[in-house]
């Protein structure tokens, strides 16, 4: 739970620090090493309710931060998350225990996307009665309606949301904020706190002539229509404008719907693309053609339908405020692409007209939400905002982080505590990292299977065992940068190595006692380090830091213990 986490703050391993939601990566990887897959998923669920979803579509900042890159390649954290979540479901129906309602204050969450659902989940775990209101017929937000089926299956979203509902969250669909409910009406209904996470549902316009022609459909609307099961006819040649993940999703969806040729037009070069390189690679494998350094100037129509898109070539100038190089049009470089459909995917904006005027602020001519970035509170007491609505289009894991932050704020607000307390500092500090020069290099990459094999039950059992073995093998690549995995699984996993001091070598410098995160080492009366067997978790930090190499990590055998006892008796 978020609040406890803040109190018992220790330095995080790089993966956990890099994760916006601070998911305890090292712990679940350690549990996978031991083959404890179910426990591993439990550990993930402590920090976030979407193990299977994030295992599929997270952009995995944890892997970018992984210290293993200094040896060979990052540990495939996302792949491991996916495999444990899938294996848990494969073993039987997963049900959550309903959390008893400890508090009476009702909380309303508007928008059943990743931010709203996470906030509801965290609050339900704390014991609040939470109701989530959703406009669409099914909950899930962008996860349900905008990520295409081939990247994230609908049943995955449905199952993860069912889990949240089982913890005691009520989800009401088909209720539109601003029409069926307002902040006023919710307050009248007895909701003490409101979290608005309605996301950014409108696609930005290209603002070029010809945008109202038949055959121009915004990427968000296009994906939403496809995912709602509406019949959409794609043209033979489709142009997608933009270079983000939505553009790639829209392009791949159009291709899968039967478009013969799909081109993606991006005004910068490949390096500046906001889309994940892995996604771009998959799109290219699907046969999608990328044109870089081109920007559309107008859409040409014939009989009201799209006939072609006219573009101008660009060159890259000086870096702008976002750090990317600014594209500058090259004059007289206009050229046309003959297409039947244009899908602009150049960004999304929030429906600010649904929000009360009090919480909005005008910035650069746009209406934006005015909120406190630490507490996510707005000008209206008890009203919080978060997710894409506050930050602009981002990722699932960032929305999860916002949901957790909001849940924590709402808890502090409802309990009458200071919302700002101890929360300014972001967790960015990372722990000590092992000396990777000594590690064996292995150049290989682990991918969980994406295609499901058709097989009989006998083969399936064998196949699952194989997958488990491969996952464990991958998990063993973890360097365990953090001192203790903090899996808190209540399992005697770490009863192995303990720090053993060689008293002949110890000079009493006290370094070990300072670095020990568990306070297990003290200098004794003989001025040498003494390890408290009960407190030592076997992390090995002291051994690596000891300048005299007087500490060894080893498992004490029965004989050795006997020797120690006999020795102390003799003294």
């Amino acid at each position: 739970m978020a609040i406890q986490l803040q109190k018992t703050l220790r330095k995080f391993p790089p993966c956990r620090a890099a994760c916006p939601a601070h998911v305890n990566v090292q712990a679940y990887v350690a549990l996978i090493q031991k083959g404890l897959f179910k426990e591993a998923v439990e550990v993930i669920r402590r920090d976030m309710p979407f193990p299977a979803i994030c295992g599929r579509v997270c952009f995995s900042p944890c892997e970018d931060a992984c210290a293993r890159v200094n040896v060979d390649q990052a540990v495939a954290i996302r792949g491991l998350k996916r495999i444990v979540a899938d294996i848990e479901r494969e073993m039987g129906k997963v049900t959550a225990k309903p959390v008893p309602k400890k508090y009476g204050e009702k909380v309303a969450v508007i928008g059943a996307g990743p931010a709203g659902l996470t906030a509801a989940y965290e609050l339900a775990k704390l014991g609040y009665p939470v109701t989530v209101f959703e406009r669409m017929p099914e909950p899930g937000g962008m996860m349900r309606y905008c990520i295409p089926e081939f990247r994230l299956e609908k049943f995955v979203v449905a199952n993860e949301i069912a889990y949240i509902q089982e913890t005691g969250v009520e989800i009401k669909t088909g209720v539109e904020f601003g029409r069926d409910i307002t902040i006023q009406s919710l307050k009248e209904d007895g909701y003490k706190a409101i979290f608005i996470a309605i996301g950014t549902q409108l696609g930005s316009k290209l603002n070029i002539p010809g945008e109202d022609l038949e055959g121009v459909i915004n990427a968000v609307d296009f994906l939403r229509a496809v995912n709602s099961g509406k019949p959409i006819k794609v043209g033979k040649r489709v142009a997608v404008v933009g270079g983000g993940n939505t553009a790639i999703d829209a392009a791949r969806t159009a291709k899968k719907l039967g478009a013969r040729e799909v081109i993606v037009l991006y005004r910068r070069s490949r390096e500046e693309m906001p889309a994940h390189p892995y996604e771009v690679e998959l799109a290219e494998r699907d046969g999608i053609i990328f044109y870089f350094l081109v920007a559309p100037t107008r859409i040409i129509g014939e009989n009201g339908k799209v006939k072609a898109i006219e573009c101008v070539r660009m060159r890259l100038g000086e870096p702008d405020s976002t750090g990317r190089r600014r594209p500058i049009p090259i004059s007289f470089s206009e050229h046309q692409y003959e297409v039947e459909m244009v899908i602009p995917a150049i960004g999304q904006i929030a429906e600010t007209n649904l929000l009360p005027r009090e919480i909005l602020i005008e910035r650069n001519g746009d209406l934006q939400v005015n909120y406190d970035p630490v507490t996510l509170a707005t000008n209206i007491p008890g009203v919080f905002v978060g997710g894409d609505l506050a930050t602009g289009p981002a990722s699932i894991i960032e929305a999860v982080a916002a949901g957790k932050r909001a849940a924590e704020s709402i808890h502090l607000y409802l309990r009458g505590m200071d919302m700002l307390r101890d929360r300014e500092s972001q967790i960015t500090e990372v722990t000590w990292v092992k000396n990777w020069n000594l590690l064996e290099k292995k150049d290989r990459r682990y991918y969980p299977p994406v295609e499901k094999p058709h097989m009989s039950f006998e083969e399936a059992i064998e196949y699952l065992e194989q997958l488990k073995g491969r996952a464990r093998f991958e998990a063993f690549r973890c360097l365990e940068c953090g001192p203790c995995a903090e899996c808190l699984a209540n399992l005697d996993l770490c009863e192995g190595d303990k720090a053993v001091v060689n008293e002949g070598k110890c000079v009493g410098c006290n370094v070990c006692a300072v670095v020990c995160p568990f306070g297990a080492i003290k200098k004794n009366s003989r001025r040498v380090a003494q390890v408290d067997e009960d407190l030592c978790k076997g992390c090995g930090i002291c051994a690596s830091r000891c300048p005299e190499r007087a500490i060894e990590m080893k498992k004490l055998t029965d004989d050795e213990i006997l020797k120690v006892v006999v020795k102390s008796l003799m003294e």
Binding site: D86, R89, G92, K93, F155, P453, E458
Partner: protein
Amino acid sequence: MPEWKTVSIRQELVKEVEELIKKGRYRSVSEFVAEAIRLRLEELMRLEGISAEKRGAILAAPEQVLYTSKHTWAQITPEGNIRVGVSDYAQRHLKGIARVLTEPVGKEIKQMEPFGMIETWMFVFDLYAPISGKIVSVNDKLEENPQLINEDPYGEGWIIEIKPKNSVVLEEELSKLMSPREYHKMISKIEGRMRE
């Protein structure tokens, strides 16, 4: 052998049963009673903690259900169609059912050829048709709740209904299917192999 007992039924209930027979839900009063007894027995056995496989073996009347070697069963409905589902043995291996995909209504299918698949979280299991014919209905409830296959593989968890081409072909094809006794023998053989 248990003793036979006479059971009196209330008059309203008799009318209700007659109504159901008219509608075609049951073919006769005895079928209704048999169904009632089956359900009650099933409930008792579930309370006793008897495994679903044994329940299925005890309850599935030998004349009613026939099996394929690919773990699908076939049962003749009152309308004369063939209802198809997966066996209890299959259900026990399909704990993580994610969705059930079948060919659409109206599609012609052939005996022992795949007509759909059950997708679990990790793998895909093909469904083989026990007889040839045209699909006349697909169980819509599975779309919402595919776990019905786990809960009641021989009842609510049916998958499709096939209209056979003609009775001659049907007769011939049915004769190729396995009786519950043969099927259970095959399963014990497989299980023995797997344990080794």
